[in-house]
Subunit: 428 residues, 2 copies
């Protein structure tokens, strides 16, 4: 089983920062470093940082301010030794040469622990910061497909042995062992090569988090790890099977793509204690804020609706497509009112909430793993550090005891942790 | 006196990496960290990393590969405690929202030690990596002027006290204490604010390194530190006076802009030992490589000329304008042949070479400082670590003894080291 830790703001619960055991700043590097060290103590495969490109203090107050992901991860590389370091960087608001370069650099700095979550950027709220208009869903994914190909091509332009630095002859670089990419496509013209040599992992790990049809197609072709949003095991099994089935067509082995559904664990020593913890967290929620968040996640203004009526029929939005789909399906299955749905969104922003004793939580995770609904989980603690300590100190040891999860790191790089081979360069 | 350390590749001497005491990789973070720690031991104000956006193994073999500056500095922030951390980020190949954000992040991570060298990018060789054409000198500076203004505006959009994180009331952000920028100019439309709060320094320090007329105009209006390229004290004095004279028109005090000419010190225990060190370094130079570098610096192909004739009359290039101007002026003054000039470029890529005993080097630096040719120096060691240890262990103690340079850091932030006040936000 593989475990990733999701970090973005002060924790995945909308109001988790109000808990007395919570840190309240996600701009304070010392606090972020403490989180990373807990994850490394828990032998997690990786830390993964979400990102978006705007400030929205209305819908996402405690998610609004953060360190920029690449500088944050580079600083964490210096303060950790084994854990993988992943970040979201948008294919819609960046250029591929710069993205290939910065992840190669992180891979060198961390000695092979870098991972890129290539997202198309769901929300259009950032477009105004770039003087542009947010492209539609289909165009975003067309651009993303070419973007990822260019980045991977750039990572292959230097042979592993191109830098010789031979004092005797004075040859620093063997120019026969690097080449241009000379890409000219629909969205990009990129000459290459990079101004950094091939990285320790050959290629940094690529993550993908889009759940729509083009999102899945991109993942099947290019991603090493897939984050998914789920609310139900059968749904997760179907998604898992659908993705794995597509891999052979791309000459990829099902073991080489790791599927990690997101889960917010709320762990108490007993089932009652866990329920009380969740109730306490929910008591911190401010209603108007939760309704703004729900509107954001569903892609339409929900403030006019009666909270105590069933969730109304609404069309799937262009943004946050998978969140809306999964939440609405759950609402139908369980006859939820709009208030129930907003409680759910307030808890984990649309992700799955798993509340229980350590054994209950471990049992459920094991069941999902055994029944091939997941290769592991993207753990989204409600707040830090206590809400994460609970998982690492109470649940991880059970998973280890059951032989489901590593007792210690066995390799050096993130590819090692994930059981992924180091890819050779396509050119050398 | 203020001291900055310039780092880019394996050292400023073209072939310094061939020295037996030299490190040969600038991609190995452990080696970079060792350099930073020597600089901090020497109580330097800052480390400053140059950058460009292409690989050119012909003209710049040992300058071709490097860690990406922002990730490198963020990792160094974790491994150092006081030294300022500056990097070159181009105003021609980036967007202001992202640049404002990443430097604000570095400032948070380093607790107030970030500095941005805003360059227009001299060489057009990188344009092909971005599918674009390098703009001309004048357009680059027009864009740069607006770019710097937008970045500084974005740094002011959050009041220092906007993040309240009040557990009792549930208010995380006081939305009255942040605002949009709503910039709409010739080159950029940027809404703002950033998704990171105001930084420890209020605004990171801004560096500028352009020596042309628009470069100086931009520096006078916006820069806290100016790097210059010099070969002669009288010339340096004239430049220094010209810059300082322009400051009052921008309501800026002359003490609040620090002028640091670049210097490559070659230090021996005796004058003879120093000369022998330089001769050894020069013996490593490969002629055809030096001629390529000279062509690059002068902006035209110099391979056809007779090396033993005086430097020919050539027009000042659009790129590397100040390097060419300063080198050609020196060649005229000293009746240099083309071979003399290429020896000079091979030594320090167009920067000033200062070779001598520790006392001689300290005397010259003091003279420049006393005569108002400089507020300090941008030190460019020929190779690392030995070529830098020489300066820190032999020259810095003399400067300290003479009361010219600090014995220890007195403040926490780079602004403290430079004697610059923390600017209030223009909006709050
Ligand atoms: C676990 C998870 C994490 C995500 N993280 C980000 C993120 O950090 N930034 C972002 O813009 N979108 C993020 N997304 C959104 C998706 O990448 C995608 O843009 C969105 O779901 C719309 O694409 P889709 O229609 O393919 O699902 C995330 C989605 C999931 C499931
Ligand atoms: C000390 C110093 C450092 C510089 N560092 C960089 C650099 O890292 N990257 C870059 O593209 N240009 C660099 N430059 C070049 C200038 O920023 C500028 O682009 C060039 O000199 C042309 O502008 P000018 O005509 O105003 O001098 C540097 C110049 C000096 C003097």
């Amino acid at each position: 089983m593989h475990l990733g830790l999701f970090i973005l703001g002060t924790g995945s619960h909308v109001a988790g920062w109000r808990h007395p055991g919570a840190m309240t700043s996600f701009q304070d590097f010392n606090q972020v470093q403490e989180i990373a060290r807990i994850a490394e103590r828990g032998r997690f495969d990786l830390i993964f940082m979400g990102d978006n490109l705007y400030a929205d203090p209305g819908a996402h107050p405690s998610y609004t301010v953060r360190l920029e992901p690449m500088t944050m991860l580079a600083a964490l590389a210096a303060g950790t030794s084994r854990i993988g370091l992943g970040a979201t960087v948008s294919t819609t608001y960046n250029d591929p040469w710069s993205v290939a370069r910065v992840f190669a650099s992180l891979d060198h700095i961390s000695k092979g622990r870098a991972a890129w979550n290539a997202v198309t950027t769901a929300s259009g709220q950032g477009a105004g910061n770039f003087g542009t208009v947010h492209p539609d869903h289909a165009s975003r994914y067309e651009r993303a497909a070419e973007f990822v190909d260019v980045v991977k091509g750039l990572w292959d332009c230097w042979a592993d042995d191109a830098i010789v630095a031979d004092r005797a002859t004075g040859t620093y670089i063997d120019t026969a062992r690097l080449r241009a990419l000379d890409h000219a496509g629909t969205f990009f013209k990129v000459k290459g090569p990079l101004n950094i040599g091939r990285c320790p992992q050959g290629q940094p790990v690529v993550l993908q988090a889009g759940g729509s049809a083009p999102g899945l197609a991109l993942a099947a072709r290019t991603a090493d790890v897939v984050f998914s949003v789920v609310q139900d095991m059968d749904e997760a099994k179907a998604q898992y099977a659908a993705l794995k089935k597509r891999l052979p067509a791309h000459d990829r082995s099902p073991e080489h793509v790791t599927v990690l559904p997101g889960v917010m664990p709320v762990v108490g020593r007993t089932p009652t204690e866990a329920r009380e913890k969740l109730a306490l967290l929910q008591s911190f929620v401010n209603g108007s804020n939760a309704l703004q968040l729900l509107s954001d996640r569903l892609g339409q203004d929900m403030t006019g609706y009666d909270l105590d009526q069933p969730v109304p029929e609404i069309a799937l939005p262009d943004t946050y497509h998978s969140f809306a789909r999964v939440m609405l399906a759950k609402a139908r299955r369980e006859n939820m009112t709009l208030r129930d749905l907003y409680d759910l969104v307030a808890a984990a922003r649309g992700h799955w909430v798993l509340c229980g004793s350590p054994e209950q939580v471990a049992d459920t995770l094991q069941q999902w793993f055994d029944e091939r609904a997941a290769d592991g989980f993207n753990v989204m603690p409600p707040y830090f550090p206590e809400g994460f300590d609970d998982f690492v100190d109470l649940v991880v040891p059970i998973l280890q005891e059951r032989g489901l999860f590593r007792h210690d790191y066995e390799g050096e790089t993130l590819r090692d942790h994930l059981g992924l081979p180091r890819p050779p360069s396509r050119f050398f």
